[in-house]
Amino acid sequence: MDDLYIWSVIAVLTLGTFLSRATFWLVGHHITIPKRINEALRFAPACALAAIIVPDLLIHHGKIEASLANPQLISGIVASVIFLATRSMLTTIILGMAVFSLVRLFV
């Protein structure tokens, strides 16, 4: 593949990473955020995580699949129970992946 093209893509994507993540660190102290917006922002990280994983768990073969035919959903539910019982992230990930693989193989 054209080397110059790829490295240009890498350069502009790096710029995108930098602009979105670091700009406010550099200029933020000149900007006052209203108190209510600041309060709302406390919830942003949790909402972002939810927005990442809810489709991962519920979209199967390109559509919403909230049934036992969806291996991600089954292993997500099992993993939640394991995590709430053990509070161990590592145990949850290992057992969750085991359930996920088994369901995909045999169901």
Partner: protein, 257 residues
């Protein structure tokens, strides 16, 4: 630390700089420990992105360059099909920027904690912000109050997150052609985030926001540039705020906080 006037950590006990350094390095280790359970999931996601780059016929050098300096998994994944069709550079730039927009919101939350740092430090640590590190940092330091040890803790989280991502991604680059694409290893990243999220939703206002954000993300998952995700975050925040507002207006019991 810095001489800058605003919000440098106060030093009430008049600690010597050796003592401050000791606290900061202890905090660094605490940060690494706090984030460590999530690292296997982060590495699994890195692995997926590394494999995807090699399967898109990147050379090893190109793939290494991309993972080491772009450091934005979802933007990288989104760029691959655009690269395959030879899309214009500016289209790829805008796509990457769109997908990263949630980090603008994150930076508004976290930057005030470190407004005393020098410019180069701000640029570096801002650039290294990750989704999961962000949550662990906020859990330990919910207020902007300057505190000795905060900087070390953040560095511990960000550095370990960066290393886990790169180890996963570089493994994917070198093993890419040996691993079948439908292995489903990326689901480990989803499970890691699930574990981070579960303790947070014990607080009712957060649960309401998470349900709102999840529902919007689900209904908009086919939108381009992950714009649905940005909308999901905004709607989720509004749901949480509305819930707190409702508690405060209709309830004499203290609302949630």
């Amino acid at each position: 630390m810095s001489d800058s006037a605003h919000s440098a950590p106060t030093n009430p006990a008049n600690l010597s700089s050796a003592e401050i350094n000791e606290i900061e390095s202890r905090s660094f280790r605490a940060g690494v420990r706090a984030g460590s359970p999530s690292l296997i999931g982060i590495a699994a996601w890195g692995l997926v992105v590394g494999i995807a780059m090699i399967k898109s016929h990147f050379t090893i050098m190109q793939a290494l360059g991309m993972t080491l300096i772009v450091f934005a998994g979802s933007a990288q994944l989104a760029a691959l099909p655009l690269i395959a069709v030879g899309a214009p550079i500016w289209v790829i730039f805008l796509t990457g920027l769109m997908i990263n927009l949630r980090f603008v919101i994150f930076s508004v939350i976290i930057a005030p904690h470190f407004s005393h740092l020098k410019v180069g430090q701000k640029a570096l640590w801002g650039y290294l912000t990750g989704d999961v590190s962000m949550v662990f940092f906020m859990r330990r330091f919910p207020t902007e109050q300057p505190e000795i040890g905060k900087f070390g803790y953040m560095k511990g989280l960000f550095v370990s997150n960066w290393l886990a991502w790169q180890i996963g991604s570089i493994s994917g680059i070198f093993l890419g052609n040996l691993i079948p694409e439908d292995w489903g290893v990326g689901f480990a990243g989803t499970l890691a985030i699930l574990c981070v999220l579960l303790p947070m939703v014990l607080k009712r206002a957060t649960l309401i926001g998470v349900i709102g954000a999840g529902a919007v993300a689900l209904l908009t998952f086919h939108w381009p540039y992950k714009l649905g995700m940005l909308l999901a975050v905004i709607v989720g925040m509004l749901c949480s705020m509305a819930w707190e507002e409702w508690l405060e207006s209709g309830n004499s019991i203290t609302g949630g906080k």
